[in-house]
């Protein structure tokens, strides 16, 4: 059954909410009252329930199966965390209540901050950024502010070609010129290339580690040293931190700033696009520039700093404010719940299992699919390229869409850009051995099928999804971004 739009079934005079409107008062709206109708159809509660239940049934989700999106870390989302985030003492608390009435909320932020500092080995944390990219911006602003405090105004940022798109976008937003570092043959960054590009105009390097090819940058210390020598800062994209929690601390690798995608590493549900949270951990050098509000740790005590004036009393010089309030409290609760549940032992085990699972997939597919950097150990995700599809008439996209018919969400495609036709698979620690075996068997079957020339299975895929392949080009050429009421049919037609 097709599900119509609410604008097609809803009616402006129907509502699914009963509200008592008092009549015993005199409006004080002056001349600002709205005159034209808004045109917002309503649905009664039973109709609304069905509309959204049916819509949801057209989605794929982690709770339904393996979701091997490399770099996106689709792992299990414990419902305990959802329950905790809904405790009235958290969910029903206003950000501007007097601090005496939100002591537990502030304490929660402080506790989570401590966990982040211990796991990363850094000096300080800015909790307020609202997502990974926002965290990047925050970290890079701290770097820019630190340079300014030194009286410098550098113009360039180094970014490897394998970087997430947000890295160059962030650097550009801050007015930096983006200089691309080429990858060496094994997919990692060569310290020599970095040294070559470093000069006194380089403000920072933005490096993802483990990188987007699923490899740990083994020369990271050397790179960090070179960067620091040049008076620049080392920004680490922490999107892949989930591979090394409990195995290594970024602070001991020379990192000056790193955002943490709480929603990836510590499991907030992705919610069809968000929300996430992107706290930024900072080195000693950058700590004084953290934006307000922030938690200041001093030994065992933690103090909540709301304004620049308060910050100054401690000798800090915040570069500003990233968002209206305190950041993504809802995600903080979930992340702390996740961390407490795992503990130091569980977090380490989760990293190990994530890496183990990814390597198991590599080994299971190495003979049939192509590994751009050879059959060597990877971290939590494994990168294939499309050379195994050569001469089959099947593209990377076709291959991915055929996975849908087998009941799987496709892996990340065409990213990272550093290899041709990339296929990036991240199973996460949430998969059982049986699940991995079934996934490997399915992919093997698909590869064999492509090689045997059964191209129809791919080029027309998906066949068994709520929609067949969608025309994205048409959508972009003449964008239809909202529903427009059709012209009323002429009187004759209606009769």
């Amino acid at each position: 059954i097709e599900e119509p739009l609410i604008f097609e079934t809803g009616r402006n005079d129907v509502t699914g909410v009963d509200i008592d409107v008092p009549l015993d008062f005199k409006p004080r709206l002056g001349s600002h009252r709205r005159e034209a109708p808004i045109d917002l159809p309503g649905l009664s509660e039973p109709e609304a329930m069905r509309h959204y239940v049916r819509l949801s049934q057209k989605n794929y989700a982690i709770d339904m199966g393996l979701y091997p999106l490399g770099s996106c870390t689709m792992k299990h989302n414990p419902r305990l965390n959802e329950k905790m985030a809904r405790l009235p003492g958290f969910a029903d608390v206003h950000p501007l209540q007097p601090l005496s009435t939100v002591k537990g909320a502030v304490e929660l932020i402080a506790q989570l901050g401590r966990w982040l500092l211990v796991t990363t080995g850094m000096a300080s944390v800015a909790m307020s950024p609202k997502a990974g990219a926002h965290g990047e911006l925050c970290g890079m602003m701290a770097i820019k502010a630190a340079l300014k405090a030194r009286g410098e105004s550098r113009s360039k940022v180094l970014v490897p070609e394998s970087a997430h798109g947000t890295n160059p976008a962030t650097a550009a937003l801050l007015g930096y010129k983006v200089v691309t570092i080429p990858a060496r043959e094994d997919g990692t960054v060569d310290p020599a290339s970095v040294r070559e590009l470093l000069d006194d105009q380089v403000a920072a390097i933005m490096l993802t580690n483990p990188n987007t090819c699923g490899l740990f940058e083994r020369d990271i210390k050397e790179i960090a040293d070179a960067v620091h020598e040049a008076g620049a800062y080392f920004y680490c994209d922490g999107a892949n931190f989930n591979a090394i929690v409990g195995k290594a601390k970024p602070g001991e690798l020379g990192v000056d700033a790193m955002h943490i995608n709480l929603h990836k590493t510590f499991s907030t549900p992705h919610g069809g696009g968000g929300p996430g949270a992107g706290p930024v951990v900072l080195s000693d050098k950058l700590a004084p520039f953290a934006p307000v509000p922030y938690v200041r740790f001093e030994g065992e005590t933690a103090e909540f700093i709301e304004t620049r004036a308060e910050a100054k009393e401690h000798g800090d010089t915040p570069f500003g404010r990233m968002t209206a309030f305190h950041g993504q409290m809802g995600m903080f609760i979930r992340a702390l719940s996740f961390m407490l549940s795992h503990g130091c032992d569980g977090l380490k085990q989760a990293s190990e299992d994530a890496v183990l699972n990814a390597n198991y997939i590599r080994v299971g597919l190495a003979d049939l699919m192509s590994l751009p950097f050879g059959n060597r150990p990877n971290m939590h995700e494994v990168l294939f390229d499309d050379s195994f599809l050569k001469d089959t008439g099947v593209t990377t996209l076709d291959f991915a869409k055929a996975m849908i018919d087998e009941g799987y969400h496709p892996m990340t495609m065409y990213f990272p850009l550093v290899v041709h036709g990339a296929l990036l698979i991240e199973p996460t620690e949430s998969e059982s051995l049986a699940s991995l075996d079934l996934f490997i068997a399915t992919l093997r079957d698909l590869v064999m099928s492509a090689k045997k020339g059964e191209t129809e299975r791919f080029t027309g895929a998906p066949y068994h999804s709520p929609r067949r392949r969608l025309d994205e080009t048409a959508a972009a050429r003449k964008p239809i971004l909202k529903w427009v009421r059709p012209e009323p049919a002429s009187v004759e037609a209606a009769e």
Binding site: R28, A48, V118, T323, S341, D471, A476
Partner: protein, 449 residues
Amino acid sequence: MRYLPLSDQDRADMLARIGIGSIDDLFADIPEAARLTAPMDLPRRKSELEVERHLSRLAAQNVPASSVPFFIGGGAYKHHVPATVDHLIQRSEFLTSYTPYQPEITQGTLQALFEFQTQIANLTAMDVANASMYDGSTAAAEAVLMAHRVTKRNKAVISGGLHPHYRAVIRTMSELADDTFDILPADPTGAEDILSRIDNETSCVVVQSPSFFGQLIDLKPIAEKAHECGVLLIAVFTEVVSLGLIEPAGTQGADIVVGEGQSLGNPLTFGGPYVGLFATRQKYIRQMPGRLCGETVDADGKRGFVLTLSTREQHIRREKATSNICTNAGLCQLAFTIHMTLLGQTGFEQLAMANHAAAVKLAGMLEGIDGVELLNETFFNEFTLRLKGKDAEAIVDTLADKGIMAGVPVKRIDPVSKDVEDLLVVAATEINTDEDRAAYAAALKEVLA
């Protein structure tokens, strides 16, 4: 560990299959000196019951809005959210799905986005809306950056009626992008002369209505002057419910409308996650930040929806993107659109009226108190009191001790403005009862006496 499906036997079998002796072989690229060998200095795993107890203890140290007479607004509002909303957004298929990059198996998320975009466009009377930003404050900052791109100018005029935190976020975001600002002083009465600040160097003028102080602002003359000078008018709101009753910025000539959508569908949660709303004119869509969902057809010719115009986005455009935003407020946006669908025009207008009524009644009770001056001539559900000569923050703290959440003392969130120490911004919503209002009036009277 309850979340990890592998057993020790599984792990051993897998290592054997991979052909290595130890899990640490897979971590060999980590410089040896940096490898952690000892456990981190953190507690070990806890049972679900223990975690629940730990977090419940923290939660119990906070005072929930529902448990007291509650009048705090200032950018986040306590409203009643139907139980259906939370039920639906918790459905696994919505909750644990990713950004809909594979449209064939995410039509649920996509159609809901398309409906959301339409709701926001209709609500603001604008041509197009995006698929949500982090929150109102970051949406406002993105709007200023967008105006910079559109006009190729870099001076923003900021009204004194704008939420102080929004002002700070705009400044932080664009200062480092080398924008400059003309910021008007705090304007509790809506009397500022902003027209004279707009000139041919200006990229945009940012005005909030209802203002941070609750005043309703006539945007038409500002739009006129702005358009004369080639300047974009950015209209801001922090209380989306106001749009049920007051004239939308779109019909008043705004070029970009941004706002906070938390009021619908989303709990307060100490400030986040919220949902930023962003709408603009058709001609600017390729300069818009954020994600967009568009209509198309599938291989069988059936209507379907996809993310579109991604050529503006960071994952495609990298350093040439219109914004670095990637993860957005998907689930909060879904909560918003479900709540809005339940309301419909009828319910939404009733909700707005109930809010306005609550504020009118409250204002009537408070403005009669000795030592209290109501500064607003017009307002929606929020207004500003001058507690003549008193320290508003101290009074709010005193009232909190008496179990009443009295409002936002302006000085707390705007420490730099002058003459605001005795100003208190008070919000009323449909959740307030007659008893709540009476308790507030009585307590305030007592404290000021």
